[in-house]
């Protein structure tokens, strides 16, 4: 049953996503990061208003509404509906929705896109399979909304459903 302490020291040398994250970002331990470590590059999905590829979050040089969701999260449907109403009123604001669900056999990229289309999503939707953004924003529940200004600084964050009036008030101060 003896185990070598040295094993702990070589953690992170492997090739898994977790180790790669460690290699790029240092050992995890803090639950949130400073503004200087944004933006984060995420994979985007082929879905309504979204194309498969990559994007930076928040959108550089643009006021950005970041919506963290999950397909299992019932209030996230409602949050998307609220965001939809606000979206059409702010042409110059970037909207991006991100799930921390890791695609697998039980939940494929196609399943997530189906959820998105079913809930009338209309902008870029992406994946945060290591919950990196979730941790970076310090989000402890879903939905979770973050609004950043054009410099990428977080100006507003909200856990739970953010109402349209609240979002408009915040956005009106930034655009």
């Amino acid at each position: 049953m003896k185990r070598r302490q040295a094993v702990a020291a070589i953690a992170g040398i492997g090739l898994s996503g977790g180790s790669l994250w460690v290699a790029q970002n240092g050992l995890p331990g803090t639950q949130s990061r400073g503004d200087e470590q944004f933006p984060v590059r995420i994979e985007t999905l082929d879905a309504r208003g979204s194309t498969a590829g990559e994007t930076l979050v928040p959108t550089p040089g643009t006021v950005t509404v970041v919506d963290l969701f999950a397909t299992w999260c019932a209030p996230c449907d409602e949050q998307l509906e609220i965001l939809n109403a606000v979206y059409s009123e702010y042409d110059e604001v970037s909207f991006v929705s991100i799930t921390n669900e890791r695609p697998s056999e039980t939940l494929t990229r196609g399943d997530i896109a189906d959820w998105w289309n079913r809930n009338d999503g209309a902008w870029t939707v992406g994946l945060d399979p290591g919950s990196e953004l979730l941790s970076a924003f310090g989000a402890s529940g879903l939905p979770y909304i973050v609004i950043t200004d054009a410099d990428g600084t977080i100006r507003f964050s909200h856990s739970g459903i953010a109402e349209a009036a609240t979002l408009r008030t915040q956005l009106d101060t930034l655009v």
């Binding site: 049953m1 003896k2 185990r3 070598r4 302490q5 094993v7 702990a8 953690a11 992170g12 492997g14 898994s16 996503g17 977790g18 180790s19 994250w21 460690v22 995890p28 331990g29 639950q31 999950a70 397909t71 299992w72 999260c73 209030p75 921390n100 669900e101 890791r102 695609p103 697998s104 056999e105 039980t106 939940l107 399943d111 399979p129 290591g130 919950s131 990196e132 979730l134 941790s135 989000a139 402890s140 529940g141 879903l142």
Partner: protein
């Protein structure tokens, strides 16, 4: 559960004194923290998990948590919970997906333990798994359900140190629970490598710790 490792005898104790945070029962070093494992109500770093056998209702069998013999993750939840639990379960689900995608599904096991046996029946747990996109049919996923509310108190609260208390919110037509959050990373010998107290435990930290523990 304070004196884990004391059976190693004098030589073992002297060895431990030399390094400070060494414990031959665990792979990961002592976490950076301001307390000792014996100071907290839950099984923490270096301590053996309680000797508990619980029913796994979806699989119609029982599981002794000390006999698992692979690296495992335990957490404590109830399926009607709207806030903390779905995040805890979702984290386990995401680690399960990572294991399936990266070829180590048979080297890990997941044990979400409900403290609401009255509502969390086998059928309910299966439905919940589908809602959460959990592969509950996978041989590494095991919902555990204490047989009664009293047994849940005994196991979850008294032995695993996860306090929970029934509440009856006015705005809801059903009872809920106030409860604390705990995710345990346990090695194949049944010793706690990490006890994550966060309501949103960092998934990459868990995956990384799990990788070290399962490769030891």
């Amino acid at each position: 559960m304070g004196a884990v490792g004391a059976t190693g005898g004098i030589a073992g104790c002297l060895g431990s004194l030399g390094i400070g945070d060494s414990n031959t029962d665990v792979v990961l070093g002592e976490p950076d923290r301001q307390f000792d494992s014996s100071d907290v109500p839950y099984p923490a770093w270096g301590q053996r998990i309680p000797d508990v056998t619980l029913p796994a209702p979806v699989e119609s069998r029982e599981v002794n948590l000390r006999d698992v013999e692979r690296a495992s993750l335990l957490t404590f939840f109830y399926s009607h919970c709207n806030t903390v639990c779905p995040v805890l379960i979702s984290t386990q689900r995401n680690v399960q997906a990572h294991a399936q995608n990266n070829g180590y599904a048979s080297d890990v096991a997941f044990f979400p333990v409900t403290f609401d046996p009255a509502r969390d029946t086998a059928d309910r747990l299966q439905t919940y798994a589908d809602e959460m996109n959990v592969d509950a049919a996978a041989e590494n996923w095991h919902f555990l359900r204490p047989a009664s509310a009293d047994r849940a108190k005994d196991v979850v609260q008294d032995q695993f140190g996860v306090g929970f208390e029934r509440t009856d919110p006015e705005e809801m037509d059903m009872y809920m629970f106030a409860h604390s959050a705990l995710t345990l990373l346990v090695n194949a010998d049944g010793f706690v490598e990490r006890a994550y107290r966060s309501k949103s435990p960092d998934e990459e930290t868990i995956i990384d710790g799990l990788e070290t523990v399962r490769n030891a």
